[in-house]
């Protein structure tokens, strides 16, 4: 097993349909440390697609439920939990301590927060979104396009398809959560042909798309970094809750 994997620290933001399969895959691969972030508790409606939680976990925090399940899968991985919502302040502290972040959240504002703090701290991360039978994912690094380059009006896109309104097919979330784990492992082992590329899937047509996304000179998120080389990676500070 690569020492880059066993030494790596990954933060997973959201322990739902994306975060559960991503966390399970990373633990089984021997990742060194996971920090799980989610303020929610386990509800009955979560169980069909959030496989780290069971009926016995109803009412428990998702992060503690997931941590217990992950410890049974592989005890070698160190697991930390944060059961509060992600904010600009706590995200900056956490991201500086991690090698990679997985955005397994639901909702535009949190996704843009993760994107912006990732850029500010120079921490690579993997965006993903799923709705119905469709999903998309992209790895953002200090020298690639970011989510705001890809969707300049994401923040204003009330019609942005969210599973909250449109529903989600569990296996599609499982597929994309597993893909996020794959992309994280690729990055950690210096295999980066997929970074900065948007991968989309439509289950009803069995169609995949893999698109190269350039840095936008007018991007509000990262234009300062465009043409100036990789954004700096700060690795200081301590996480406290």
């Amino acid at each position: 097993m690569s020492s880059r994997i066993t030494a790596a620290h990954i933060a997973i933001i959201g322990l739902g349909g994306l975060g559960c399969p991503a966390a399970a895959a990373l633990v089984r691969c021997g990742i060194g440390k996971l920090t799980l972030v989610d303020p929610d508790t386990v509800e009955l409606s979560n169980l069909p697609r959030q496989h780290l939680h069971t009926e016995a976990d109803l009412g428990r925090t998702k992060v503690q439920s997931a941590a217990d399940s992950l410890a049974e899968l592989a005890s070698e991985t160190s697991i930390a939990t944060i059961d509060t919502a992600l904010t600009r302040e706590n995200a900056a502290k956490l991201f500086k301590l991690t090698d990679f972040v997985i955005d397994a959240t639901d909702g535009v504002s949190t996704k843009l927060l993760i994107n912006d703090i990732s850029i500010a701290t120079g921490t690579p991360y993997c965006y993903a979104g799923v709705v119905g039978f469709c999903g998309q994912t992209m790895v953002v690094t200090p020298d690639t396009a970011c989510l705001r380059c890809l969707f300049p009006d994401f923040a204003d896109a009330e019609e942005a398809a969210s599973c909250e309104e449109a529903g989600i097919i569990g296996p599609v979330a499982g597929l994309f959560g597993a893909m996020q784990a794959v992309l994280a492992l690729e990055y950690l082992t210096n295999q980066r042909r997929n970074v900065g590329r948007l991968v989309s899937y439509d289950g009803l047509t069995e169609r995949w798309s893999n698109i190269s996304v350039p840095i936008s000179a007018s991007c509000r998120g990262c234009s300062d970094a465009a043409g100036q080389g990789p954004r700096p990676k700060e690795r200081t500070g301590a996480w406290t809750t």
Partner: protein
């Protein structure tokens, strides 16, 4: 000239199809194509500010000139990831 249009995610639902061959004038741009699509599928028009475009698997802006035979993918942002009941009518 003819281009092949692929609709992803909510755009497929709004357009009522996953793919369509569209005839546009020579010299047409991606923006011109979007105008044709909005006229043919008015339900997609509210996505005008948020949709992204890829021509032959490369992200492009709206000024990009099209060529005969191009494949144009229309990709809306997707934000879901952790919640809600399954709805097989969605997407």
């Amino acid at each position: 000239m003819k281009v092949q249009v692929l609709f992803f995610a909510s755009l497929r639902e709004l357009a009522g199809t996953h793919a369509s061959q569209i005839v546009v004038e020579d010299g047409a741009t991606v923006a011109d194509l979007w105008g044709v699509l909005c006229a043919r599928h008015p339900a997609v028009e509210p996505m005008s500010t948020s949709v992204s475009f890829a021509v032959n698997q490369e992200y492009t802006d709206r000024d990009h000139p099209l060529a005969d035979g191009d494949e144009v993918a229309l990709i809306p942002p997707v934000s879901g990831g952790c919640c809600a009941e399954a709805d097989t009518d969605a997407c």
